[in-house]
Amino acid sequence: MEFDIVTLSRLQFAITALYHFLFVPLTLGLSVLLAIMETVYVMTGRLIWRQMTKFWGTLFGINFAIGVATGLVMEFQFGMNWSYYSHYVGDIFGAPLAIEGLMAFFLEATFVGLFFFGWDKLSKLGHLVATYCVAAGSNFSALWILIANGWMQNPVGSAFNPQTMRMEITDFFAVLMNPVAQAKFVHTVSAGYVTASIFVLGVSAWYLLKGRSTELAKRSMTVAASFGLAASLSVVVLGDESGYLSTEHQKMKLAAIEGMWNTEPAPAAFTAFGFPDQEARETHYAVHIPILMGLIGTRSLTTEIPGINELVASAEDHIRKGIVAYDALQKIRAAGSEAAVPAEARTAFEANGEWLGYALLLKRYVDDPRTATEAQIVAAANDTVPGVLPLFWAFRIMVGLGFFFILLTTTFFLLSARRRLDHYPWLLRVAVLAIPLPWVAAEMGWIVAEFGRQPWIIEGVLPTAAAVSDLGATTVLGTIVGFVILYTVLFIVEMMLMVRAIKQGPEPDTDPEAILASPIIAPAE
């Protein structure tokens, strides 16, 4: 790997995005769990539920702080490191980011202050509303971010404008209803719920093992296990690969995930194990499970899934059309005014404009795609295959963990239903050890989504290599080092505080006002 500006910019984005997503899933899920716990408190008036809300709220706060801080980096670095991208698609991509701020982040961030500081200043119901606003804000936030990301995977509702040299929106509704975005939203939010459930489950299991705060821990486990079970079923069943057949490159991503080099008759077999070899274009030591792939990828027994080799061949065809579009675009731009554009250039662009992005793949090899040699066209077509081996395994680790979470939450759900949560210490130990796993699964998921989209930054529209800012490699290397140092220090501090807060445990909540506040139902304790 050479450290050119493209590699460095990608590295920085990967580091900052994966780091940011260490905090997002817990925020997403824990905010909803807090809302559930506080609802029980308000409905029953039992103090222990308020104590739970406050305790998990403290952990939520430690996590939330870094999520906010690193989110700002995410928003700013499109402009900083990806300025041609920002120019090229800002007309579409910027809107959901801005709407996220207006509709979701404002709500979340404004009410999170009240969540922590408002216990004595608000009525029970008033505080519950604040908590709901935080939960709604964080989940809406995910919706808009994933609409933006979904558009990168499946750029619907937009067209290239030769006058401004950029993509412009044509159908906002299509961008909102993008099937890839919708699938991603459900999948990602569910993954956040699983993360928070396993977190609450694991921390509570630790308390049970230590014999501390057992009442709080058992109730927390009950909530986490049932919520986590529903969420882990949803995250697997509503996995976002359902959107993978919507476009050519999503198909490529699916084929790469499967290490499926050649098209197979439907329904295709699932390769459960193997070592895909990019050079030889085959998967060594493959273990196949018949039919399963066709079912996962297409939800049908008759739809055919194209293999990598077939998709490369069609990419070559798209590149040739892209060159025609590129040529037409140059003529349109050279003409100066609308009226001066030669008719055949206009027709050629209308017929081939959608493949313009494929011509830009050649920019890696030549300045002017029209002068590309046959060998360069073949090379560019081969570039459309993402790294198969990392995708193959990242996907399998993610899916394997997904099934493990179903098993784990089901187990604790049953234990909770039979009131035997503290009967099997070894299961509690498993739950404690499982705490980091949802994060592993979530990060793997993003690697599949983003690494699988390569070489595109906007699938079929703009290659990643063409999207970077004109910055010096040392400059970007410098900021990478800066971010890594800053993020490492913050991570250590965060973990220290999290562990401390967990070890310290819930504060006893004996505020008499809360008892008076619900005179009808006397607290059970």
Binding site: M80, Y84, G94, A95, G101, G118, E168
Partner: protein
């Protein structure tokens, strides 16, 4: 979509220029006092409890306030993509410094009081100072550079080339603007502390705030004078089509001394912006001295409105002039999003901005009242 034709492209661009100002002024007027409080923290809080009082005045609100910056960034991306692309990549290291400094803030607030160790707390206090000072300074420095023109150009395929350096940003006029920004936000932060605290903390806040207000006045006047005497403005010489395509390369531009004051000559009523900047600052100064409670905070917001909008008005229709390739300069008429995107974003903003203002006001109402030492030391109060 036919609906978007309800408002013509030129008008939408003008509206979005105003909204850009609203968001940036919203950021400076709300998150501005948080930044100011951060800068004042080590000086106004002399003991640990006093520092906790200072921090807890903004503890519940700073997160919401900072969203103005997030939305400001998002709105620039959505409504002015070339501006977003050029300024964020051009000011790359400066943006990194802002981000690094801002990252310190949330963690500083959250983590400072989680441990008793005085060294731990003092470290985070200075981190919070940095988190206030660096962004305040750099935003001002950025404005100072924008007024002089920034060394960028577009290639034919609209690829952006920036030919300046980080240290080039730190020129005397830009530093003057940076200091103006710092003193303006310190003034505003002081007014907030004067309102939200009492006793010695409030007394010190009033004293520092008074000095900052005077400094703001002097630096604002100095910046205006330097701008008038030494720094040329920009003027479009080709015909302007407010509804033309967003392609900056289609126009011609010249530099001219005094061009940044031409709008005031053509429309004298625009002078209300600098006048409000000066009067607002003066009123804040006297308000802080006369022990008025909420007045200095409100007049401070007026001052911020006046000072920031005077920059926008002076440059109009320029948003980001280029010093090395004049026609690459970004103006209101050639660097926006498409007609449809501007329309959709306007609808969304028209719906959500009033809602945001409503619930933000409600939150401030709930949190109304002074923060005192007894409050922050009470264990059940969940203070930072």
């Amino acid at each position: 979509m036919i609906l978007s034709e309800l408002i013509d492209y030129g008008t939408l661009r003008l509206i979005w220029w105003v909204l850009l100002g609203v968001l940036l002024i919203g950021f400076a007027a709300l998150d501005g006092f948080d930044l100011g409080v951060g800068m004042l923290l080590p000086f106004i809080g002399r003991s640990d409890v006093e520092r906790r009082v200072v921090i807890n005045t903004i503890g519940p609100v700073w997160e919401g306030n900072q969203v103005w910056l997030v939305v400001g960034g998002g709105a620039i991306f959505a409504a002015w993509p070339p501006l977003y692309a050029v300024s964020f990549s051009g000011f790359y290291l400066a943006m990194f410094a802002i981000l690094a400094a801002l990252i310190l803030r949330p963690v500083g607030f959250k983590y400072r009081s989680k441990r008793e160790d005085p060294r731990w707390r003092s470290t985070w206090d200075w981190a919070l100072f940095t988190g206030g000072f660096v962004p305040a300074l750099i935003f001002g420095v950025a404005v100072g550079n924008v007024l002089q023109g920034v060394p960028f150009r577009f290639a034919d395929d609209m690829r952006i080339f920036y030919e300046g350096s980080f240290f080039g940003l730190l020129n005397p006029f830009a530093l003057l603007c940076g200091l103006l920004s710092v003193s303006m936000l310190v003034m505003h932060g002081s007014a907030w502390l004067a309102l939200k605290t009492d006793g010695k903390v409030a007394w010190r806040a009033r004293r520092y705030g008074g000095i900052a207000a005077l400094l703001t006045l002097v630096l604002y006047a100095a910046a205006g004078a330097v701008l008038w005497a030494y720094i040329g403005g920009y003027r479009i010489t080709s015909a302007i089509d407010p509804a033309g395509p967003s392609n900056p390369l289609l126009k011609t531009v010249v530099t001219e001394s005094g061009a940044w004051f031409a709008n005031y000559a053509a429309y004298p009523w625009l002078l209300i912006a600098p006048v409000l900047g000066i009067l607002g600052t003066l009123a804040t100064f006297f308000g802080l001295r006369s022990k008025a409670e909420i007045l200095p905070l409100l007049t401070g917001k007026i001052a911020i409105f006046g000072i920031i909008s005077s920059v926008g008005v002076s440059m109009f229709p320029f948003i980001l002039p280029s010093s090395i390739d004049l026609r690459s300069s970004l103006t209101v008429w050639d660097s926006s999003s498409s007609h449809l995107t501007l329309f959709i974003m306007l609808v969304v903003t028209a719906i959500f901005l009033p809602i945001i203002v409503a619930y933000t006001s409600w939150v401030y109402h709930v949190l109304w009242g002074k923060v005192d030492e007894a409050g922050v030391t009470d264990k059940s109060s969940h203070s930072y």
